[in-house]
Symmetry: C3
Subunit: 204 residues, 3 copies
């Protein structure tokens, strides 16, 4: 397993845990908690795979995702009264997930010969649309459509990626810088509590 | 048509009728009722086909599903004041659907060379995710995520299937036992009104 | 670009604008408005492509959709206080979209050798299910399932299409008549405020 693959699993675990917590707050039963953990973690990549035609989708071909999500599910069941203690590690892992998932989505787009715009869309989808599916299954308007700056960071990271691609930098450096940019901006956003403005509604 | 295919249509009809009833309770118009009947009946299998890349999806290639769902739609329109009389037949057909759909999903997974864990997931998806899509389209949190023991029975049935596969039993016997287990457990669940506990929410 | 392709973009623009307006009314942030504009415009065709296995889906291979939707997004941001002035052009463009999208869906079905019933379903899906996905993402029961006569017009248009196919008319005439029928019926529906009845709920 490469370092990058390890980070992918760290992000998957963080996303699964955050999904499981959302489901607990919605008072779901264990099956619901497991499924919400699952779609939060791999839903974005699954949607991406379906739309580009990369089937069977990723998690069916690599059982590590299933195992790591199950681990997240069990951890939430055990520690659900004490998870506030791990707030910082959770935020960090979640930010790593955001960066790594965006990169993976961009890379899949490049593999399929897509235009940079589509690659950026696929990166954002991979990182953010698991949360969209989670919110839909919780009968809520997706939080990233309302206030959370989350997708915008991925789009920004994608733009950084393709600007660096213009230069003659090695691939690994581009990936490192892009994911660091996403992770750092994400942490700043949380620290300073930034959010996108709701658009002023003077529609008649 | 084999006996198994006939049972598939029985299950499809039962799922379509239950979907149409849900839509009626949501005060939908005829088009809405038809679509909800449709997704309840074939939505799980459609999702499975999309995720494994078996396209065009099943109901596009075998019009029997379309016909049987339309029949269910018409039956509901005609008998909608008297459907409580058929409660027992409905429960039985619905349970048959649960068993048969689970088996079909497992079998498709095996056809695509999937790991047993993924096959069990595909069986559960085939049997239960039509109802998930129905609930999403009704702007509700899916009932199988909240209290109904439905998916858990399919997972249990899937485990029984792969345990029997270890032995040297003929395929048809394994299928018969698995579906009977699912059907009987489903009936017991309804009779004794079992449900999964909501997880205690002491999250801070 | 053919005349037909130009009409496709007119319809896409109208659908994107109507989606963006819905998102504004839901008080979404700019990212949410853009995504809702996007799924309203191309969601139906995307669902169709996924179900028939035409991947990567259409908008990934023709960036014009992305550009025209972004234009719609910008127009809504600029003119959001004055869009009532364009009510008639909006209605007309939306109706053109309904007609053209239905035809495109039917044609894709024919390209894949589908039965006429499935082609009509694909046409209706292409024209109407972007709005369904929009409503799901807004945590609402889809409006076309409740009262709006929208899908029924597409189904009717599809039936007209296949009745004309029985005769020996040239393809372009069939397409012209079908889309005109859909557009005119749509305008009549809006003018006379027709809607499907909710089914009487005497279910026990």
């Amino acid at each position: 397993m490469t370092f990058f693959e390890a980070l992918d699993l760290v992000g998957t675990l963080a996303f699964a845990i955050s999904g499981a917590l959302t489901a607990l707050h919605k008072r779901m039963d264990p099956f619901g908690v497991l499924i919400i953990a699952f779609v939060t973690a791999v839903g974005g990549g699954t949607l991406r795979d379906v739309l580009i035609g990369r089937t069977p989708v990723g998690w069916m071909q690599d059982l590590n995702y299933l195992y790591i999500i199950s681990l997240g599910f069990v951890l939430v069941l055990i520690f659900r009264g004490n998870l506030h203690r791990f707030k910082l590690s959770m935020l960090l892992s979640d930010s790593i997930g955001l960066g790594v998932f965006t990169l993976i989505g961009i890379q899949k787009g490049l593999d399929f010969g897509m235009h940079p715009f589509i690659c950026v869309a696929l990166g954002t989808m991979t990182a953010c649309f698991g949360g969209v599916i989670r919110d839909v299954l919780c009968a809520e308007i997706p939080v990233i459509f309302r206030k959370e700056i989350y997708a915008t960071i991925c789009i920004f990271g994608g733009i950084v990626f393709f600007m660096l691609e213009q230069g003659n930098f090695p691939d690994q450096l581009i990936q490192l810088v892009t994911s660091l940019v996403i992770i750092i901006v994400r942490l700043l956003v949380v620290k300073f509590n930034w959010s996108l403005p709701t658009l002023d509604l003077n529609v008649k």
